[in-house]
Amino acid sequence: MKPPITTRPDDSWLDRTFFDNQAKVPPEALLPYAGRYIAWSWDGSRILDSAEEEAQLWDKLEAAGINPHRVVFAYVDDL
């Protein structure tokens, strides 16, 4: 099924690339981010930034000129 047509340029859908790339990241690569909120790149290949609180992460992304509506937010559990 093709993605439905969207009306805003920042309104695009994640595609298969995100899932394929994120699956290649080994779990241990997330350990430095344990207990932090992270932002994945839109293609799932890397972590763009992290912060202790999600609101801080929004601020950091915006300050860096990264569109927060085009990242994937997540939290890395400290297990």
């Binding site: 241990e28 344990a34 929004w58 297990l79």
Partner: protein, 151 residues
């Protein structure tokens, strides 16, 4: 048509005894998009069959243009957590596994409480899907049901 999501495998700092010494804790985390009037919020969220509602952080509401000042409010709870105050708003939710694409209107809650993982609970999400959790494959399949209101 079915969407299939591989479980996330967050790393553990020590072997997980209950999983035979594995170094990860597989969890049904999926990437959901919340669509508001002025933007989208894409987030890894937990499919939680014990959660009454679908709940997201309040910061996201503000960032995608949802005004919660006059929104109806109530309490929502998930497994292992105390009930939290939520303000409800109507949004569009989207899920995709990269092959299938689903979007539907939903009432979700937003909370100021610190959420590690937003919850995709019964109201707003699981009420519209059949969910099959495959422990052996460590993935979950979602299939729309007769109540599904979206496309």
């Amino acid at each position: 048509m079915t969407m299939r999501f591989q479980y996330a495998r967050p790393p553990a700092r020590q072997p997980v005894i209950s999983l035979g010494g594995r170094w990860v804790r597989p969890r049904p985390l999926v990437r959901v998009t919340v669509v508001g009037p002025s933007g989208v919020y894409v987030r890894e969220a937990l499919l939680d069959t014990a959660a009454d509602d679908s709940v997201f952080p309040e910061i996201a509401a503000a960032k995608i243009g949802i005004d919660l000042a006059a929104a109806p409010f109530g309490e929502a709870s998930g497994v292992g957590g105390a009930p939290v105050l939520v303000h409800y708003a109507a949004v569009e939710l989207r899920l995709t596994d990269g092959k299938e694409f689903r979007r539907w209107p939903a009432w979700v809650g937003f909370t100021a409480a610190r959420l590690k993982h937003p919850l995709l609970g019964f109201a707003g999400c699981l009420q519209f899907f059949g969910a099959h959790f495959h422990g052996d494959r460590e993935d979950v399949e979602l299939e729309v049901n007769a109540l599904y209101p979206g496309s």
